[in-house]
């Protein structure tokens, strides 16, 4: 045996369409007696499920997972990313033994604790105290173990004042905190986390991230499924990208997150158009040749250290000497929130441009953007004397890049490791005076 904590080989899971979360989740006897008989025969005779799809005619099947193979070493923190429906949840459900694969094998060493949905088995009528015991037992803790950890769990949850109140009287925040507190004290060798960071207030999210870091530092293995790309790049040592039930990429978080965003947004750090491309952005006056994300040396980059400045380069042709052309950019983050827009205010753009090729680069200073992915749209416009703007050429969501905080200091993050909302994160100058107010 190797030191692999988790080994997944050729894992595949087939669902019958409509068999999941729909009105047809269970049939009536009348509808399904014949199907069931066929299914019995199929199972008894050991035929493949595909044979059933042929016999059942209109029934359709989907592969939620299709030939997934990977292994995770002990102590690794692996992010699993992918769009909804890519197979992340199915993978976790198989690893948590909730459902069985159709093919392949998953194998792991030691206790696997999953935070698929915290609060599983909480009963609203029971008190917080009762639910800690009940939930702990459901998650696989021994009574003695729960007793030993009880005070820690209550402290961690911060609901000690209400511990003897039925949880139906809890706010949703309190409920989740208590539930997470129980799950977080499971102390498994392998921890599987699915999007719990999406719940709770900022302070609690910080606590959760802290707990995850603590778990990973203690040499345990963590599988972290999230849509929160900054959290994946910050917490994980490796990431796996799933798409349509298969592993698309397996590598460093930065690299995999970039691939994911690139495929998800259909955008890369570099876009170019051939001169005869009919979709080339522009008109009779201007045409965009390329848009790139560049570093100081004008090399194309897909990710940038938050402390470094990054450039958005637009290469364009001016075809007629008639109009003044002003280049501008609009940045949005991965949630689609506008970060800012900017244009070149240099006086040279007041005059009509000489025909020819221009290379305009907008430099975004370091320590301004927040972590995460940033999408840049570019435009070339003309201002009319009446205050209107004529867009001569525009490329929406032209390029994308990652802003990464390597955690070496010198950023607005300081010593704080938790989530950081808002599109920008400038490093401000703070002044301080001590003494009596005057």
């Amino acid at each position: 045996m190797s030191s692999d904590a988790i080994r997944v080989e050729h894992l595949a899971k087939q669902y019958r369409l409509g068999a999941m979360r729909s009105a047809f989740a269970y049939g009536s006897l009348r509808e399904t007696v014949s199907d069931a008989a066929a299914a019995w025969w199929r199972r008894l005779s050991g035929g493949p499920p595909a044979a059933a799809s042929a016999s059942a005619g209109a029934r359709r099947f989907i592969w939620a997972l299709n030939d997934v193979t990977f292994s995770v070493s002990q102590g690794e923190v692996v992010g699993i990313i992918g769009r909804n429906g890519a197979g992340k949840s199915t993978l976790l459900k198989i690893l948590s033994r909730i459902t069985r694969p159709t093919r392949g094998v998953a194998e792991f060493h030691g206790r696997l604790g999953s935070l698929l949905e915290v609060g599983t088995g909480f009963h609203p009528e029971l008190t917080g105290r009762d639910n800690i015991y009940l939930n702990g037992a459901i998650l696989g803790m021994r009574r003695a173990e729960i007793q030993r950890k009880f005070d820690d769990i209550v402290d961690f949850s911060g609901v000690s004042a209400f511990i003897d109140t039925p949880v139906k009287r809890y706010s949703s925040g309190m409920y989740v905190r208590l539930a997470f507190a129980v799950a977080a004290h499971l102390d498994p060798e392998i921890l599987v986390v699915d999007e719990v960071l999406a719940v709770g207030d900022a302070a609690f999210q910080k606590q959760c991230l802290g707990k995850m870091q603590e778990v990973s530092r203690s040499g345990r293995t963590v599988l972290f499924v999230s849509h929160n790309m900054p959290a994946v790049t910050r917490l994980c040592s490796r990431a796996i990208l799933l798409a349509d039930g298969s592993v698309v990429e397996d590598g460093t978080p930065e690299q995999v997150v970039t691939t994911y965003l690139t495929s998800a947004l259909g955008t890369t750090a570099r876009r170019e158009w051939a001169p005869d491309d009919p979709s080339i952005p522009g008109n009779d006056w201007v045409r965009v040749r390329s848009v790139r994300v560049v570093d100081e040396r004008c090399e194309t980059i897909e990710s940038v250290d938050v402390r470094q400045r990054v450039g958005i380069e637009i290469v364009f042709d001016v075809r007629r000497r008639e109009l003044p052309i002003v280049p501008g950019i609009v940045l949005t983050n991965e949630q689609g929130t506008a970060v800012f827009s900017a244009m070149d205010t240099s006086p040279r753009w007041r005059e009509a441009c000489q025909p020819g090729c221009y290379r305009s680069t907008a430099w975004i200073p370091g320590n301004l953007l927040n972590e995460g992915s940033v999408v840049a749209s570019v435009a070339l416009g003309t201002f009319t004397p009446g205050g209107k703007t004529i867009r001569q050429a525009a490329v929406n969501d032209a390029v994308v890049f990652q802003v990464i905080d390597p955690g070496e200091g010198g950023t607005a993050r300081g010593d704080y490791a938790g989530p950081w909302s808002a599109p920008v994160r400038p490093l401000l100058e703070w002044s301080l005076r001590q003494g009596e107010p005057s």
Binding site: S3, K93, R97, E107, H109, T120, A137, G140
Partner: protein, 276 residues
């Protein structure tokens, strides 16, 4: 380098499911917690609480006494009719609520089953065991009534636990089949109340088993495990005629249903989370 940790393998469903009964022992605390939850919640949400465990058999006993005892004047093996029927109602209600409870248990725990792993057998098992508490509470009524009629249990009372066990085994067997089927076909939960009603009248709860005399009918009668259980209750507590050979087909059929139910359940279990 190898890890000294237990290895878990998750594999596709296989043709022959293993029973993995050892796992139930490992999870015994969860069984206890689920029983405790069921009881606590049940008594917390009702105003009369524990009183229901008394009222239910008493009220049914009154109805049966009036209908079968007074109006139909059915023979009661020489015993006062109220105690004659109550001694049958208690095991019947244990059986009936255990079957109904366990049949609906898996569907009722759907959110648990789709989110966390534990041996699924625990769900119907704890539902069956939870009914024992109600049974113990309502047993007090029977003891009070025995004192009222000055009926002392015979030495055969030492066999009473065996009859309780038979009732539990019968309801667990039925619960295994029904709960697993109910996951796939919700028809079960609509059919079941009707079946239980018929079953009640097919069992000697309101009448004496001695009324059934034809040999063929007696064999069919003996196939109903509750016949043996009820006769055993009347025999060991009230000194009525012993169940005799009729108990053997009862035990045999419970054994067959239980083993086949376990196999069927383990078979169906592999797809519970996908279908529920």
């Amino acid at each position: 380098m190898s890890l000294p940790l237990p290895v878990t393998r998750v594999t596709p469903p296989s043709g022959l499911a293993r029973l993995e009964l050892a796992e139930l022992v490992e999870y015994r605390e969860l069984i206890a917690f689920l029983i405790w939850r069921d009881i606590k919640v049940r008594y917390k949400q009702t105003t009369l609480g524990v009183l229901w465990a008394w009222l239910q058999p008493i009220l049914t006993m009154i109805v049966f006494t009036v209908v079968f005892g007074r109006l139909a004047r059915l023979p009661s093996d020489g015993l006062p009719y109220p105690i004659f029927t109550l001694a049958a109602l208690l095991p019947w209600q244990l059986f009936s609520s255990a079957v109904t409870g366990s049949a609906n248990s898996l569907v009722g725990s759907g959110s648990l089953i789709t989110k966390v792993y534990f041996p699924r057998l625990i769900v119907p098992l704890s539902a069956v065991l939870a009914t024992l508490v109600d049974f113990a509470v309502s047993f007090v009524v029977l003891i009070a009534l025995m004192a009222y009629y000055h009926i002392a249990p015979t030495a055969a009372v030492i066999y009473l636990p065996l009859f309780i066990l038979l009732a539990l085994a019968a309801s667990f067997a039925a619960g295994l089949w029904c709960s697993a089927l109910n996951v796939r076909y919700r028809d079960v939960q609509y059919v079941l109340p009707f079946v239980m009603q018929v079953w009640l009248f097919a069992s000697p709860v309101g009448y004496s088993a001695s009324l059934v005399t034809s040999p063929v009918a007696r064999i069919a009668f003996g196939l109903n495990p509750m016949t043996g259980v009820i006769q055993g209750f009347r025999w060991s507590l009230l000194g009525a005629a012993p169940p005799g050979w009729l108990i053997l087909p009862s035990v045999a059929i419970v054994g067959v249903l239980l083993v086949s139910g376990l196999l069927f359940f383990k078979r169906m279990e592999q797809s519970f989370a996908d279908v529920i």
